[in-house]
Structures are given as structure tokens and as C-alpha cells.
Amino acid sequence: MDEVKLTLPATPDFLRLARVTASGVASRMGFTVDEVEDLRLAIDELCFALTGSPPPPGTVELTYSLDGASLRVEGVGHFNGHATLPLTLTDLSERILEALVDEHELLETDGVPSFRLVKNRQSTA
């Protein structure tokens, strides 16, 4: 299983790269444009949930795991002890993410916030 790792400052300009990287990786895996666009929207939604707005100082560490037709993206926030907003997804965000990706979750483990999503390639390109 191939992995791509990325550590970004938690600012909107850099978090854009999380989306760009997801597009690049998904494209390599043969995802369709529809699926790539879904993935980009999901990354935006979960990065926002992870950092809040404006994001606290710190970094977001992303891991893209390529497993056959399945792409898993994990994001971990390192906010240097700064308090983050409670990690919750609104009902609407839940609904949106359910439509965009196959699995998603937002976690907080020992005060470290993270998200995980899985997007499976549906089409046979």
C-alpha cells in the first residue's frame, strides 16, 4: 500500500494543498472527475471541521493511503496546545459527507484532533 504524507501550516492557503494533493492522488488511482470533485469537497469540509475558522496556529499532518481502488485520507491537527473548538459535525455536514465519501469520522484522542475519510473508486475506467 502506497502512502503520501504531507505536513502543512494550518492556514487556508496551505490547506488548499490538502485538496490539490487529494486530487492528484485520486487521479493517479483512476477516479473519475465526479469522484475527484467529491473528494475535494469532503477534504474542505473535514479540514474546516478539524481546524475551525480562523484556524489556530499549528500544523495539519495528512496521510493519503492508496489501497487498490480505495483512498484513505487521515488528517491530524497539531495546534501547539491551543484550544480547539469542540470537534463536532453539524447534521448538515454529516449529510454532505455521507453523500461525498464512503466513510468519514472526526476524532479527538488525548486532546489531539483528527479526521479520517475513505473514498472508493466506483467506476471501472
Binding site: 486530487s23 483512476g30 465526479d34 469522484e35 475527484v36 470533485e37 469537497l41 449529510r95 453523500a99 475506467a125
Partner: protein
């Protein structure tokens, strides 16, 4: 009629002149319709150009109105693509590729019966996969102009009511849509323009893909993508205020 309007500046006369030449606006809008923008939007832009032409035309000059109006309308359409469409300046090469990809996606989707992949797009467009990805990302900086707003000046000027939910729902059962909307759409969504509510509903409540929505609404997949991204961003911003 033009000479009479130039003399009197009567509003009802102006409307009649505009209506009499809407065919020209539509004809010119169609000439720009292969650049990834919905024809309806381009017709609205062209109509604004037509109104400007009517207002500015000087019958004492020896120029045919159709010649003058064509020049003004084409200028308005070009300005729409060059200036109004891009909220952040992307390199012109990427702008052009992005607009071109809109057509390529439509053609390939029809040929393949599914949404194309990035490598397929790159091959068809004769560019690298990286360029396709760069153009798609640059597309996020491409915003729909005010003509997306319901009841915009352009729509009113063209004698239309602007976008309405009903005009975009096609074969959906309106009663079902309304019931679902009442039950499920949050007040945040209800605050969005109706076209964007429609697209959100189709994508997240009805489960249609972006390509399917594009087909149903007769707009490009890339336009759907832009509107969805913008809507979700607006919803996130609005949620902060809750």
C-alpha cells in the same frame, strides 16, 4: 423606433426596441457557448450588452444599429469571460484550459456514459494530467457572476424573472421536493440562491452525481462543481455565526 427612442427616451419604447433585438443577443451568446458557460447565463450577459447598445446608440451617426449592437454585445460577452468570471486571477492559459475542459468533460461523459478520468481528459485535451489538475484547481477561483443571483439586473432587463427552483427541477415532483425541503433543508440552505439550493438538494439529498445534475439542469459539470464548492463555503461561514 430607434430614432423615436433616442428622442423621447421613453422606457416602454426602450423595452420594445430591446425585445425586437433579443434574437441578435441570443445568436451572439450561442457563438460563445462552447467555452464552458451555460447558454442561459450568456444570453443574460448578451442582453445586458443589448440594453447598453440601445441606450447608447446615436441614430444620427451613419451606422446600422445591428452593427453597433453586435459590437457592444460581443464586448460585453468578452468582458464577462475576461474579467467578471475570475475572482482571483489565474494564468490566462489555465483560464482557457479550464473553460475548454468544460466541453471536453461534456463530450467524454456522453461518449463514455460516465464521468471521465483525469488521464482521459488530458489525452482528449492534448495536455498533461498535471495541467488538467492545475486547471481544475484554478477553476475554484472562477466564480459565477451576479447573473446567478435570482432576479438579477440582467435577468430583469431581459424581461425574465431570474432563476427559479421550478425552472430547474425538470421532472421532479414539486410537492415531494417541497416536503423534503421543509423537512430537511436547514435555514442556512434556505438562505442560498434557489439554483444553489436545487443543486445541493440534488447532490446531497437525492444522491445525483455532479454530471447527472449537470445533465438535468443543462449546465456544465464544472459549473455544478463551482456552485457546490461555493455553496458549501457559504454554509460553513454561515455556521460560524450560529
Amino acid at each position: 423606433m430607434l430614432a423615436e427612442f433616442a428622442e423621447s427616451r421613453d422606457a416602454s419604447l426602450r423595452d420594445r426596441v430591446v425585445e425586437a433585438h433579443l434574437g441578435l443577443a441570443e445568436y451572439l451568446a450561442r457563438r460563445f457557448s462552447n467555452r464552458g458557460e451555460p447558454l442561459d447565463d450568456l444570453v443574460q450577459v448578451a442582453s445586458v450588452g443589448l440594453i447598453k447598445a440601445v441606450d447608447r446608440f446615436d441614430p444620427s451617426r451613419e451606422v446600422e444599429f445591428s452593427t453597433y449592437a453586435t459590437h457592444t454585445i460581443v464586448g460585453e460577452l468578452k468582458r464577462h469571460f475576461r474579467d467578471k468570471g475570475w475572482s482571483v486571477r489565474a494564468p490566462r492559459r489555465m483560464q482557457e484550459l479550464y473553460l475548454r475542459l468544460g466541453n471536453v468533460i461534456s463530450v467524454l461523459s456522453q461518449e463514455l456514459g460516465r464521468s471521465p478520468t483525469v488521464p482521459e481528459l488530458a489525452t482528449e485535451a492534448g495536455v498533461s494530467e498535471e495541467e488538467v489538475l492545475e486547471a481544475l484547481e484554478a477553476g475554484q477561483a472562477y466564480r459565477s457572476t451576479s447573473i446567478d443571483a435570482p432576479g438579477s439586473a440582467g435577468a430583469r432587463a431581459a424581461g425574465e424573472e431570474g432563476d427559479t427552483l421550478a425552472s430547474h427541477l425538470g421532472g421532479l415532483d414539486p410537492e415531494l421536493v417541497e416536503a423534503e425541503r421543509r423537512a430537511e433543508l436547514s435555514p442556512l440552505i434556505a438562505s442560498l440562491p434557489e439554483r444553489e439550493q436545487t443543486i445541493l438538494y440534488m447532490r446531497f439529498f437525492e444522491g445525483l452525481t455532479q454530471s447527472e445534475i449537470a445533465t438535468r439542469l443543462d449546465i456544465s459539470q464544472m459549473h455544478v462543481s463551482r456552485l457546490l464548492a461555493r455553496s458549501l463555503e457559504q454554509l460553513r461561514e454561515a455556521s460560524l455565526g450560529d
